[in-house]
């Protein structure tokens, strides 16, 4: 560790961020104080030509519900003012780990002390006859940023994913023209765009493989209720459908365009636009070529540092957070030679942003303390102050985070494992070898009202909420989300939570305004009972009541009600 000496300023730490999406941009925001202090030299390389935007809102933009500028997360001005370089529309083609540089598409190189991979994910293109397949494997990424994902095989006309602004423009055109849109895949993003497009006037059909939509997040009950709700919203739902091939026609300009999707059982679903919503895959080519361990993403430990290179980190959709094996050979030979570790990128923005915050906080602490990345592959970060509260959320695989369907009028939110049934016997205690008294027994409570589009399941361990799914009950869903995020205990009477969405929770109809203990005059804290007693003592006008009890002598807003209380008292005293 270099000793900070007198006036000599330490050389700024060179940080290169590959990827300028929402997670990369968040990292930039968080690391800026270090750049402003002259302690870090920051370069961000982004393949898209734009400054970072909020991809989560792409569906809203794609159906015309919001404007392009609502998506903007930055214009880079603050980062540039701090002295950071932002290279948009630029591809990174190689990471040269031994000399610690990255090579750019234009042939130049950038040196780094710390490299952050935030390359995100691309849309999966399923195997369909008629759509050319791309072999990625160990292929070197192309030098042209604009066609980074599609150079070898651009999607045919009338087929699109929904991952960037260009895709959104394609979808928007179809929606505005009121066209038929076939959505392949019923994950959360597929359902969101389907419902939004239908609401915006398109004719929408969702084609999916399993029995229920969002099957990664929902149990059968919730999925069934969602299916009904989606149909009610005008979306055609086609389940148990295995898509096999695509039919094309030639339009007036002679261009081959999407015509219909053909399923394994021979079903043909025709439309104007086939929207692929078949999940995403991490962009890991750079890491793979550089010999870093890769599974469903770039493998990093809980401090977000590559398993094999202490100078390289990954965050967001390209990162696969998993504990590093203790004595593994982590060289290039690792790849494919082992079982994939559990977990993987969550595909959600929340965990990605938390990773960006956490990594920036760690860098800041280390660099401020004068620590540099050592030349070995193992560095003990133990001394760095951990961001304790975010540690548990870093390894956020599917299920560990809250998933919420963004749709108007259809409220779906789910988190954790909700597979268990209320009448499942909890035998996990036996499985773990402690026969008596599981300290945290599993329990499930459930409410199903498909007719009214409502469904709730709450899964607890030792009373602590570990999973839930909630459809059609927005307040309950919001409360369960808070309880889940905090690892909170549920009230013993679980039905308390259901009542948030009940008509009786809305006090407009609750409570008797003329109950004895009801307050009539808030200014003076006078109850119905006190007014009635005063009336019984002979104070039978609003003015007399005011003089005797002060009711109505504050803002005066309750005088009408005092009159009503007096009328009732008078009516009751008449024999």
């Amino acid at each position: 560790m270099p000793e900070p000496t007198g006036a000599a300023r330490p050389t700024p730490e060179r940080i290169v961020v590959v990827g300028y999406g929402p997670v990369g941009a968040r990292f930039v925001d968080e690391i800026l104080p270090l750049v402003e202090a002259g302690l870090a030299d920051l370069t961000v390389v982004g393949a898209e030509g734009e400054h970072a935007y909020n991809r989560v809102l792409l569906a809203d933009y794609a159906v015309g519900r919001t404007d392009r500028d609502t998506l903007d997360l930055t214009d880079g001005s603050r980062a540039r003012a701090a002295g950071a370089r932002i290279l948009t529309g630029t591809a990174v083609v190689a990471v040269n780990r031994t000399i610690r540089t990255v090579s750019l598409g234009d042939g130049s190189t950038l040196p780094y002390d710390r490299l952050v991979l935030a390359t995100g994910a691309r849309a999966n293109v399923p195997t369909l006859d008629g759509v050319k397949r791309v072999r990625r494997g160990l292929m070197k990424p192309g030098a042209a940023a604009a066609t980074l994902d599609s150079a070898e095989a651009p999607l045919p006309s009338g087929i699109s994913a929904l991952r960037d602004l260009a895709d959104a423009a394609t979808v928007l055109a179809a929606v505005q023209a009121g066209q038929r849109i076939v959505v392949l895949g019923a994950g959360v993003l597929g359902m969101e765009i389907a419902l939004a497009a239908a609401a915006a006037g398109a004719q929408v059909c969702v084609v999916y493989h399993g029995e229920i939509p969002m099957n990664r997040n929902l149990d059968r009950g919730a999925g069934s209720v969602l299916t009904r709700s989606a149909r009610r919203a005008g979306v055609t739902m086609v389940n148990h459908a295995r898509a096999e091939s695509v039919l094309f026609h030639h339009d007036d300009a002679g261009v081959e365009r999407f015509e219909a999707l053909i399923c394994a059982d021979g079903k043909q679903i025709s439309g104007d636009l086939l929207l692929l919503s078949c999940g995403v895959g991490a962009r890991t080519e750079l890491a793979h070529l550089a010999g870093l361990p890769v599974s469903t993403g770039v493998l990093v430990d809980e401090s977000l540092q590559s398993w094999a290179d202490a100078a390289i980190h990954a965050i967001g959709d390209c990162a696969h957070v998993a504990a590093r094996p203790v004595d593994a050979d982590l060289g290039a030979a690792w790849n494919g030679a082992r079982m994939a570790p559990a977990g993987g990128p969550s595909g959600l923005i929340g965990p990605g942003w938390r990773q960006a915050d956490s990594l920036a906080a760690r860098f800041s602490a280390e660099i401020t303390a004068g620590m540099t990345t050592a030349g070995t592959t193992t560095v003990d970060w133990g001394a760095a102050p951990a961001v304790a509260e975010s540690a548990p959320v870093l390894a956020a695989g599917p299920g560990a985070s809250v998933v919420m369907l963004k749709a108007e009028g259809i409220d779906v939110v789910a988190a954790g494992d909700t597979a268990a049934d209320p009448f499942d016997v909890d035998d996990s205690a036996h499985a773990h070898g402690c026969a008596a008294g599981d300290p945290a027994p599993l329990a499930v409570a459930q409410w199903a009202d498909p007719e009214h589009g409502r469904y709730v399941k709450m899964v607890t361990r030792g009373g602590i909420l570990t999973g839930f799914v909630c459809v059609g009950m927005p307040r309950t869903g919001a409360e369960l989300t808070l309880l889940f995020e905090r690892g909170s205990e549920l009230p013993a009477d679980r039905s308390v939570l259901l009542r948030f969405d009940g008509p009786d929770y809305d006090p407009e109809t609750a409570g008797d305004a003329f109950a004895p203990e009801s307050t009539v005059c808030w200014c003076n804290g006078v109850t119905v009972e006190a007014i009635a007693a005063s009336a019984a003592a002979g104070n039978v006008t609003v003015a007399c009541i005011g003089a005797a009890t002060r009711a109505g002598t504050g803002c005066g807003g309750c005088k009408g009600r005092i009159g009503e209380v007096l009328e009732r008292a008078a009516a009751q005293s008449v024999p």
């Binding site: 903007d72 919420m404 927005p474 808030w522």
Partner: protein, 732 residues
């Protein structure tokens, strides 16, 4: 004596009232005041045995009405508990009378000694938002010139500092309501964030009627308070976010206003700077994520955003609920940003405001009680401001010390080496009202010397070496600046008890004994004239005012420079920054998740009750109020109570690393199951502030009062037999 027009001693609404001294009370009340009073205002029964009777008086703010606190205020004038002569604490802890001359000589000696031995900054002064403008001004001057100390701050730091900092940052000026209270009457939509006005300043709620009739009263509060209930029956909407998530809620609303194209882009371009950074900062706060953090459903967020943008007459108002946090300044800023994006501020029909709490919470933060401030809301670090004030005071600018330290830091320095050795307290009861109250009590006990000016032996006065009895509202002249920035006259109706003096006289006497530079008049009118001069050219400019003008009934809203007619509505043409524009400052939540709600781990929020005011030093001594609310009760949700074995009226213990509170539980579905509520008015082991932390907002110094982690359990109460288990054990 004749009936006298004045204003209520308590909150910042400053309800107008007429006091009729006992000797004159026989005269029919109607003859004393205009006939337009809506309520039978005088209750002769009250006057029995009391020095004055109180009548409500027609005025735009309270329209003749008063709340329970105002009606009963006269009980304190002749209270048997009143201190009627200076008291000195003896070695055994008991108090004995001491003459004014001896008391003042002793205090002057100790002040001189502390300064000589430990430096001028070893003497601290703690003021209050209930002091008149004249007292607050003189206290600041006395501290800086007579004591030579920079160590002055006040309890307004616990109330208004976050909103004040946010207002100054955004508008270049902080006047709680930059419009008149009655302007709210015409509004279609009023968004109240974290304010329970129905209990804290009840006559105010009449001004919400217009919005309620339009179905547009929106109350944001984790509790279903009396104010939240005003939204029932179609009058509006109650939004119930988890405690401490207000900032996220506001960012989410701003996001929606932008996403749904509801922003006033023309206004933003003409009247503000910084919009782009705001746009980027809220892009990530889409409604689903906001729901995840706040618990407020997306549908309600959308409803709220579209209502706010629905048209003319929309006000956004913040209160302590959103401001008393370690991110209170940023939260108030987020509310302001939302108002700016909607184009509300500085128009004739809409606006943003904060509801000032204490009687002179507005004036008290303008004239030099704040550690970094000189009269006229001037910065003490600004050379031009120092030169101007030094000129008025007749001293050299170098004789005015620099900036001091804010309240929580000042209280934290009590009795510490190099900290405060001697403290003067005026109009504050920090043993009850300050966060981490027990460490404040310990700090006071470690002082070399403590002087408290009060009417009663408050919990703080009880620790003093010398207590000086001072005048109450009905016994003194002065001015108060209300929540709408209107300067009001407080008038004397009766003479104070013989041994009681005004603070102005005390400052004069002490200054004389300390050979202080400058003049210290004991005449409120003369002090006001000097204050007006000192404020001339400042932000809060009073220079066009005097008692004659105010006594003529002039509705005097500051700034009121000489030659002007005052400013009822601010910012119509320009904001107070040099470029005339409002500054949008993008803010980001830095909070962490609240702790898990397990086995009694809950979030405590603190607040007020209708019957009591602040630390309760006054209202707990009014029989009618004390009978209605004799003790602290912890509000808790029945479902949570069931899990903890708490019963309605049964005893509960709230504890954390700072302290333990024992009180009865009150079961109510009006509170979220993860939250409990305690009023902060009560003493001893019912002090809510035993539990709150001295953590503060980095910009304003505001403590975190509204989000404290506590552990709650059921206990056998002091007046209960014992638990069944214990009884069985005893029998055995």
């Amino acid at each position: 004596m004749n009936p006298v027009d004045t204003h209520c001693p308590y909150c910042a609404l400053q309800c107008a009232m007429t006091l009729t001294p006992a000797a004159a009370a026989a005269t029919p009340a109607a003859a004393a005041t205009p006939a337009a009073r809506p309520a039978p205002a005088v209750r002769p029964a009250d006057a029995i045995g009391l020095p004055v009777s109180i009548a409500g008086r027609a005025f735009p703010t309270n329209r003749g009405g008063l709340c329970k606190k105002g009606w009963t205020a006269a009980e304190l004038l002749g209270s048997a508990e009143r201190i009627r002569e200076p008291m000195r604490r003896a070695a055994d802890g008991s108090f004995a009378p001491i003459s004014w001359t001896d008391a003042l000589d002793l205090i002057a000696d100790r002040l001189r000694a502390s300064r000589a031995e430990h430096g001028a900054d070893s003497v601290g002064v703690f003021g209050g938002g209930g002091l008149t403008n004249e007292k607050a001004y003189q206290l600041g001057k006395f501290t800086r010139l007579a004591l030579g100390s920079s160590r002055i701050d006040y309890n307004g730091r616990f109330c208004m500092s976050s909103a004040a900092a946010a207002g100054n940052r955004a508008f270049g000026l902080d006047r709680g309501l930059p419009f008149r209270v009655e302007d709210l009457d015409a509004a279609d939509t009023i968004l109240m964030l974290g304010s329970n006005v129905a209990q804290t300043m009840p006559p105010f709620i009449g001004h919400l009627d217009g919005a309620r009739q339009a179905g547009g009263l929106i109350v944001v509060d984790p509790r279903r308070t009396a104010t939240a209930r005003l939204t029932d029956d179609g009058a509006g909407l109650h939004v119930q976010p988890a405690p401490g998530t207000d900032l996220v809620l506001l960012l989410g609303l701003t996001h929606l206003v932008l996403a749904e194209r509801l922003a006033d882009t023309d206004y933003l371009a003409r009247r503000t700077t910084g919009f782009d950074q705001l746009r980027y900062s809220v892009a990530g706060w889409y409604p689903q994520r906001v729901q995840e953090h706040t618990g407020v459903p997306v549908r309600q967020l959308r409803e709220l955003a579209s209502r706010l943008a629905a048209g003319r007459g929309t006000y956004i108002i913040t209160g302590r609920g959103v401001e008393q946090h370690v991110d209170g300044t940023d939260t108030a800023t987020a509310a302001i940003n939302l108002a700016l994006v909607l184009g509300l501020v500085g128009t004739t029909h809409s606006g943003y405001g904060t509801l000032t709490g204490q009687g002179n919470g507005q004036g008290g933060r303008e004239h030099g009680q704040k550690c970094d401030q000189l009269p006229g809301y001037r910065k003490i670090t600004d050379p031009a401001a120092r030169a101007h004030v030094a000129g008025v005071w007749g001293v050299e600018p170098e004789q005015i010390p620099g900036a001091g330290i804010p309240a929580v830091e000042l209280l934290g320095a009590l009795g510490r080496p190099g900290g405060i050795r001697t403290l003067l307290v005026h109009g504050a009861n920090v043993v009850v009202s300050a966060p981490d109250a027990d460490s404040v009590r310990r700090g006071l006990k470690n002082l070399d010397f403590l002087v408290v000016c009060d009417f009663f032996f408050s919990e703080t006065a009880a620790l003093a070496d010398v207590v000086l009895p001072v005048t109450q509202w009905a016994e003194e002249e002065g001015t108060m600046t209300s929540l709408e920035g209107r300067v009001l006259r407080r008038r004397r109706a009766i003479d104070p008890p013989a041994g009681v003096r005004s603070e102005l006289w005390i400052f004069q006497e002490l200054a004389r004994r300390l050979d202080a530079p400058g003049v210290y008049s004991a005449d409120p009118s003369a002090v006001f004239d000097e204050l007006c001069q000192a404020s001339a050219g400042g932000i809060a400019d009073y220079s066009g005012l005097d008692y004659t003008l105010l006594d003529a009934g002039e509705p005097a809203y500051w700034p009121y420079p000489a030659g002007s007619g005052g400013t009822p509505r601010l910012f119509l043409d320009r904001f107070a920054h040099d470029d005339g524009r409002a500054r949008i400052v993008a803010v980001t939540p830095r909070g962490v998740l609240a702790p898990a709600q397990t086995r009694g781990a809950l979030t405590l929020i603190t607040g007020r009750l209708l019957e009591h005011y602040q630390s309760g030093a006054q209202t707990r001594r009014v029989a009618e109020l004390a009978t209605a609310q004799p003790e602290a009760r912890m509000q808790v949700h029945p479902a949570t109570a069931a899990g903890l074995g708490l019963t309605d009226g049964g005893w509960a213990e709230l504890a954390n690393e700072r302290g333990t509170v024992r009180c009865r539980a009150q079961l109510s579905a009006d509170i979220r199951p993860d939250t409990v509520f305690l009023p902060f008015h009560f003493p001893a082991d019912q002090r809510a502030n035993l539990l709150t932390a001295a953590a503060t907002d980095p910009i304003s110094g505001m403590p975190e009062f509204k989000r404290t982690a506590v552990r709650v359990r059921a206990i056998a109460g002091p007046d209960l037999p014992t638990t069944d288990h214990e009884r069985v054990m005893a029998d055995a």
